[in-house]
Amino acid sequence: MRQIFYPKLAASGMYKNRKIYLPYLLTCIGMVMMHYIIGFLTVNKGVAAMQGGDTMQLTLSFGSGVVAVFAMIFLFYTNSFLIRRRKKEFGLYNILGMGKWNLFRVMFWESFFGGIIALLGGLGCGILLSKAAELSMAKVLGETASLHFAVEYGVIGKTVVLFAVIFGVILLNSVRQIYVSKPVELMHSEAAGEKPPKANWFLALAGVALLGVAYYLAVTIQNPLTAMLIFFVAVVLVILGTYLLFMAGSVAFCRLLQKRKGYYYRTNHFVSVSSMVFRMKRNGAGLASICILSTMVLVMISSTACLFIGKEENLRNRYPRNMVIDTFTMDETYAKKAQTEALNVVKEHGLLAENVLHYRYLGIGCYMEENQVILDIDKLESFSMNGYENVIQLYFIPLSDYNQIMGKEETLEPNQVLMYCARTDYQYDTINIEGCTTMNVREKAPEFIENGDGVATVLPTLYVFVPDFEMIRQIFEIQSAVYGDNSSFCHDYFGFDLNCSEEEKIQVGRETSSRLQRLAAEDESFPHVNSECAAAERNGFYALYGGMFFLGILLGVVFILAAILIIYYKQISEGYEDQSRFGIMQKVGMTKREIRKSVNSQVLTVFFLPLITAGIHLGFAFPILLKILMLFGLLDKMLLIQVAVGSYLIFALFYVLVYRITSRLYYGIITAREK
């Protein structure tokens, strides 16, 4: 009898508080499930066997850690809410004669039951849904998954241990809270008088300043390489700024409104503004969390979705033709030889090299100061991190090759050049190469087919079309004198498309590269030849972007779950707080409609502030995102806009839905008294 007393008490306590317990348990289940699924995908052999599966698993294993850390923080946070609600009940038990030790036993059983439910439910759902996750992953990778159903026991073990530890730590924390408080305090912990919040102008202004700096950084960023670093700085600033603004800024703002008597003492504003002060004080941190989580979801989903959707175009940018033979030479005989080998392979397969792209170029990385190309960076005195802004990639290409590719008949005087700018804009009329002549830029070329290297380096790139090959030779000499062993090579770039199946393309690629290797083996002096086959690289591409997209969605789900739970608890706690106020207002002469209107507008403000702020954050993150996606080779601005707006709308829809459901609960609570 005594043995089952505590478990029974714990179970009935949980049941009676199901309104606040159930969402918590559901979230626990969700977290366990996501942890299992991600863990499952990282170790599953079926996934590993897929083309590009290993890349994907690497990406996902990173996500597994994120989920674990996040689950810890988040469950800890929500449980503190739960404990606050339960304190009254525990205080009553305490007064009725249960010692603290007895309370701990009840609490132990509660967390034990909670943990069991969370683990069983979460693992159950996880195991069931892991197959679906595997299938959708196969779909992302463009593969067909086996019908074999697998359970990863190792992952189950890891998940159980991880969450047992989390629940254990949470229990210890609750025990600590109960232990340090007196029974009477427990009874009244909810009704403790609340000090009117004071406006902290310093923190409010600091919040504005931090956000301002972060926005400024995000908007003014130019170079993709620095973008990555700045992005992390900006993220930290935005998080800090958002918290300060929601917690201190909102209170300060309401106080400001209260000072304006003409505005404040009006029927519409009076109740709303004064209640908002308290509401924001209570909810500032929670709302800021919702806002940050929402922004994370949006940034993650929109950038990864963008990469995933744009992957085919991206691939084409990186590999302008199905097959590329890049010979590192100025000597045409070597280049011809290599190209002939490739064409022979094509011929043997009964195919035709279509859409041929052939040009020679010299590529050098250099430092650009105004119209001055500086080769020797050591000479620069003031080269700092900022200097990366001025590092550019220069490609020199003979005009004849340009004319041939683009089907033009341009002519140039000596010392005149054409120019095509990628990822940058060249504003000067002349370009001066250190130790060489100054050339006049006659015209900007409207378009050119980039080579894969330029795309891969993501640097601002200038394609300079010079009158003849002799000039390239001249520049080559100059730069090899400066750079010595690190000097760049002249390239003979030869690419073509094939009209056949992907498998055959891969086969052609393989044969070509082995023949080229044989060439190099036969002739010591044969230059380095790079052969690239887009089809063979496709899987890696898909796996990388698919993996990130997939991870984006999985983490997005986790964050959304968290956001929902915060919204839910906020609504419930608001409801209980407002319950008594609702009654008083009615007695002092507000109509139900007026109260409802006022409460409605407050609740709307409170819950849509994070969504709107998240939208603004996303908007300002846009330029920096664009730069970062450039690092991954994505250049399509419109696509990012569409995807970002699309994800925002979908997210907003979802948010409104959650709000609608939870606000019904809220009204249920505040009107409960009257019945």
């Binding site: 008088g193 609340e194 000090k195 009117p196 008597k261 003409g262 003492y265 009006r266 029927t267 009076f270 109740v271 004064s274 209640s275 002060v277 308290f278 106020r581 009654g583 008083i584 207002m585 009615q586 007695k587 002092v588 002469g589 507000m590 109509t591 409609r593 007026e594």
Partner: protein, 254 residues
């Protein structure tokens, strides 16, 4: 002229399940004259709160009428009811019912703001009331920062600021210590002397002994009433005690 007429008031609650009927008020009839100070006494469950809720138009009677200055409050439209309450009735509650999100000043302004008064006008009205109640220095404080007695004074100020025809007080001394009780009761007396009509529902013999007339409610009916006449507070106190003793021992009152 009577300011409030209550005629044959009846209220029956039906429990939500099963249709059990509970008679809260059986048949209540009384009137309150302008400038009167009336206390209504009765034990828990005698129907006092129900009566007050109906008088405040927060609840509707099953039968009977409540006329405030000759106007049937049951016939007032739901949409204008709040305004009616604001303009005609001032409330003082046992647990003050001050909003903790407002300073005392703003709590007192609340009905005026709802009635769309301008800020200068509100200030003008508040100053003399706050002075009379001795809370002028507390205006910027929040409810949690002041004592129970001070909170109740602020609540009285809130009731007075709209210059209501009738003040309805529900156990106004219930949560106060004896000193605060004394001072609140003398405040009520002086307000009454200035012509304010007050209707107070109370348990406390002491509170009731300050009234001009005491009504006793038992089992949903007005069972008895006492007039002050020329009695002092002390004498009235004694009469009320005797009546209550009779009521609880089940005897009849002549």
């Amino acid at each position: 002229m009577s300011i409030l007429e209550v005629n044959n008031l009846k209220k029956i609650y039906t429990t939500r399940f099963g249709g059990n009927q509970v008679m809260a008020l059986k048949n209540v009839t009384f009137t309150v004259e302008k400038g009167e100070y009336v206390a209504i006494m009765g034990e828990s469950g005698s129907g006092k709160s129900t009566l007050l809720n109906i008088l405040a138009a927060l609840d509707k009677p099953t039968a009977g009428t409540v006329m405030l200055e000759g106007k049937d409050i049951a016939k007032i439209k739901e949409s204008t009811l709040a305004q009616f309450r604001r303009d005609n009735l001032g409330f003082v509650f046992q647990d003050f019912h001050l909003l903790d999100t407002f300073s005392l000043e703003d709590n007192i302004y609340l009905p005026m703001v709802l009635a769309k008064n301008t800020y200068p006008k509100m200030r003008e009205r508040l100053a003399p009331i706050a002075k009379k109640l001795g809370i002028s220095d507390l205006m910027k404080k929040y409810p949690y920062e002041v004592s129970g007695g001070q909170k109740q004074r602020a609540a009285v100020a809130r009731a007075l600021i709209m210059e209501p025809k009738l003040i309805l007080a529900d156990e106004p001394t219930g949560a106060l210590d004896s000193k605060a009780t004394d001072s609140l009761l003398s405040l009520f007396s002086s307000l009454n002397e200035e012509g304010q009509t007050i209707l107070m529902v109370t348990h406390s013999v002491k509170a009731a002994s300050h009234a001009g007339r005491v009504l006793f409610i038992k089992d949903g009916e007005v069972f008895h009433q006492l007039y002050r006449g020329n009695s002092s507070n002390q004498e009235l106190y004694q009469k009320i005690s005797d009546t209550l003793t009779l009521l609880s021992t089940g005897g009849d009152v002549q």
